[in-house]
């Protein structure tokens, strides 16, 4: 592989706080050097940055790529293509495939399939309970050794308090990360949109905001009792964010993430029965969206993850109650999140931390940093460049974006994994 030099870039490394103009040299798939100027080896290929941002490749810790089981909605290959187009170089795929990833052989199968594609790095989650049924623990230690980065029952809350207590206790001894879908199912089941005035007017069953905080607070008691590492997926309500903030102050090993759609959109999106805005957890009231932004700004929310959930047309062109939950997002995560920077709510470095080093550290990945000798997983992007999100312009197989027709600012220009260019923007 020819050495490659990024020139005239804005180097951004949230792990060290680096934000300076400079150059970065990639050799043999690794970051060989970076700084104000670096020596040019013979035969070097130059990528002229023209002032664009160069940061560690983004890490998306929550995606569904449909394989195996729902290949008609998304495949690893198409999901990875979408990730690359979004500047994402590592993804963690959820275990609710068919069959689910609750067995080391399944986990190895998915990891091998992804490796064969030689592109974006795919790290599987494993199920917390067998068959994601919430009753018996999966083989957590064996799954960990097979490469599971964290454990979760994906889109189902582990509702049984005793099973959760055992899962957390068992996981704490192995220092595993337990990820919860925070929703009390007995309150949320049958609901399709956020409970409140809009649900009432549309005659749709609501999912109350308190279903989220109830599950989080229950789990926090169990975390306190077990000392486990606990992560709240796609947090969406003020009350739950407040609960996590208090737990962090108390010193519990608790983290949480939110999604681009929960930081950018509110429940008004479901007006006119727009099923493309039907997500789990539902888009919430504006006050909750504001709390999500506050939580990101003050550090309560550690990570932004896309929760990329591909759905085909037939799963969405239905009455609201029958349509599937979920939106895609791996490809639009960066530009949608950049809104916080453009609106002056966060610095670019602080935002990038939640998209790179924070999720990498949570999952224990060697990723998310600009370091000499580190794998050259890099994202080059123009933070200002405006564009319009359209279905046709997206790489993923599924087209269920909640941002169709929206103008955003920030375009990924080039994505590199282990020194290989896996995406290059062409105007």
């Amino acid at each position: 592989m020819r050495p490659l030099l990024f020139t005239a870039v804005r180097l951004l490394d949230p792990a060290t706080g680096l934000d300076a103009p400079g150059e970065l040299l990639v050799q043999q798939g690794r970051i060989a050097a970076f700084g104000p100027s670096v020596d040019r080896p013979d035969g070097v290929e130059i990528v002229a940055g023209e002032g664009a941002c160069l940061c560690p490749g983004l890490v998306d810790m929550r995606v569904h790529f449909g394989e195996p089981g729902t290949e008609h909605k998304e495949r690893l290959a198409s999901g990875i293509r979408a990730a690359a187009a979004g500047g994402v170089t590592s993804v963690a795929v959820l275990p609710n495939t068919r069959p689910p990833i609750d067995d080391p052989a399944m986990l190895e199968f998915v990891a091998r399939r992804a490796r064969q594609l030689k592109s974006v790095k795919v790290y599987p989650y494993a199920a917390l309970t067998k068959g994601l049924e919430g009753r018996e623990l999966a083989e957590l230690a064996l799954l960990k050794e097979a490469g599971a980065v964290a454990f979760t029952d994906a889109e189902q809350a582990l509702a049984d308090a005793r099973v959760m207590q055992r899962a957390l206790a068992y996981a704490s001894a192995l220092d595993l990360l337990v990820v919860q879908h925070p929703e009390e199912p007995s309150l949320a089941s049958g609901g399709v949109v956020n409970e409140g005035a809009i649900a009432v007017r549309l005659g749709l069953r609501g999912i109350p905001a308190i279903a989220e905080v109830m599950m989080v607070e229950r789990d926090l008691h169990l975390v306190r009792a077990t000392g486990a590492r606990y992560h709240v997926a796609h947090i969406s309500t003020r009350a739950a964010i407040d609960a996590v903030r208090r737990a962090k102050a108390e010193g519990l090993r608790v983290t949480c993430e939110t999604t681009p759609h929960h930081l950018a959109l509110n429940e008004l999106e479901v007006e006119g029965y727009r099923t493309f805005a039907k997500v789990s957890p539902p888009l919430r009231a504006e006050a909750d969206r504001e709390a999500v932004v506050e939580g990101l700004v003050d550090g309560t929310i550690d990570v932004i993850a896309s929760d990329h959930s591909p759905q085909d047309q037939d799963s969405k062109r239905l009455p609201m109650a029958q349509a599937e939950f979920g939106v895609i997002g791996v490809e639009t995560m960066l530009p949608v999140s950049l809104r916080l920077v453009h609106e002056g709510q966060m610095s670019l470095l602080d935002l990038l931390r939640k998209l790179t080093v924070a999720p990498a550290d949570l999952l224990g990945l060697e990723a998310g940093r600009l370091a000499q000798g580190a794998a050259a997983d890099l994202t080059l992007f123009d933070a200002e460049r405006p564009w319009k999100i359209t279905e046709a312009g997206l790489s993923s197989l599924a087209k269920n974006t909640a941002f169709e027709g929206r103008l955003v600012q920030g375009r990924v220009l080039l994505t590199m994994v282990d020194g290989r260019v896996v995406h290059r923007f062409t105007a």
Binding site: E195, G196, V200, G203, R317, L318, M320, A321, Q322
Partner: protein
């Protein structure tokens, strides 16, 4: 006939209708009430037009009412009950819509168990669509016939106080009535147990009551809603007996309303559950059979107005 043009292509809900459009519809329906009382009821207004009544949810009175309305205006009316048939074969709502559309109907009257399903269907057809009830969302012709009933008995809508009692949460009748009555200047009170009356209903601009006697105080209209049996299993209410004790309309509770208060019910009634049979049958107080009569007239008016542009073009 009144010379009206109606700017809507479909009637999907009361939401989106302007007060003057509601008034026009009611004025037009008023004429049909008179027509329906004549021995010779049939007109040739919709001669040659096809009306399909597409019902995904069973119904007797609404279906019959729409069928009669279409036939009295001279349309060719076809009833399609879809429960089970195509749905079981895996056909989606949009497929059903496009299939029927290819048969070139002029009006589709649709009832569906899911909120929003009728507007989804309307986006995939060329003809006019009338919502005959979608989930818990809207039932606009019911609200219109209720308004016509009230207007004929009380002479106006504006300034009246209307109480809607019962399972407001699941009721499309309640939602359409709330929207219509508020748009026409009435005030609306909602009465029911908290389990069936979400607080968010106050955002419509209604007053909420859990105490029926207080809610009925001085009301001009008492609209009772049907309590469906499955609500017992959902632990919305403990028992029929207890529900009737708290929210069943009896003479004692009715005494709190205005002396000339009118009693309404969209039907079918559960006697002894939400309403005492004696009150339902009191012809001085109960407008329940008027409502049924107004139903046909209102649906004729809707069919007439929605097809005017088409007929003018033809």
């Amino acid at each position: 006939m009144i010379d009206l043009t109606f700017r809507q292509k479909h009637l999907l809900g009361i939401e989106g209708l302007q007060p003057w459009e509601i008034a026009d519809l009611l004025d037009c329906a008023d004429r049909y009430v008179d027509l329906n009382r004549r021995p010779a009821k049939k007109l040739q207004l919709l001669d040659g037009l096809t009306q399909i009544n597409l019902f995904f949810e069973s119904s007797t009175r609404t279906l019959t009412s729409f069928e009669l309305a279409g036939k009295r205006l001279g349309a060719d009316v076809v009833n399609m009950a879809v429960q089970g048939s195509s749905i079981k074969k895996g056909e989606t709502l949009i497929d059903t819509a496009m299939t029927l559309n290819a048969m070139r109907p002029d009006v589709l009257v649709v009832r569906h168990q899911d909120s929003g399903a009728v507007s989804l269907l309307a986006r995939h057809v060329n003809c006019s669509v009338i919502n005959a009830g979608d989930g818990s969302h809207e039932h606009p012709t019911q609200a219109l016939l209720d308004a016509l009933t009230i207007r004929r008995r009380k002479g106006r809508l504006e300034g009246l106080t209307v109480a809607i009692c019962g399972d407001v949460r699941h009721s499309r009748v309640a939602r359409s009535n709330i929207l219509l009555l508020l748009a026409m200047g009435a005030s609306v009170r909602l009465i029911g147990p908290p389990t069936l009356l979400p607080r968010a209903f106050s955002t419509f601009g209604c007053e909420l009551f859990t105490d029926m006697a207080k809610g009925l105080q001085g009301c001009d209209i008492v609209m009772m809603l049907r309590l469906q049996n499955e609500r017992m299993q959902g632990s919305y209410v403990p028992s029929v007996r207890e529900y009737f004790h708290l929210y069943g309309l009896t003479r004692e509770k009715l005494a709190h309303a205005a002396p000339d208060a009118l009693i309404m019910h969209p039907g079918p009634m559960n006697r002894g559950v939400e309403i005492d049979g004696v009150i339902a049958d009191d012809i001085d107080r109960s407008a329940i059979l008027d409502q049924v009569e107004m139903g046909v007239a209102v649906r004729m008016a809707c069919l007439d107005l929605l097809t005017r542009d088409w007929r003018a073009a033809a």
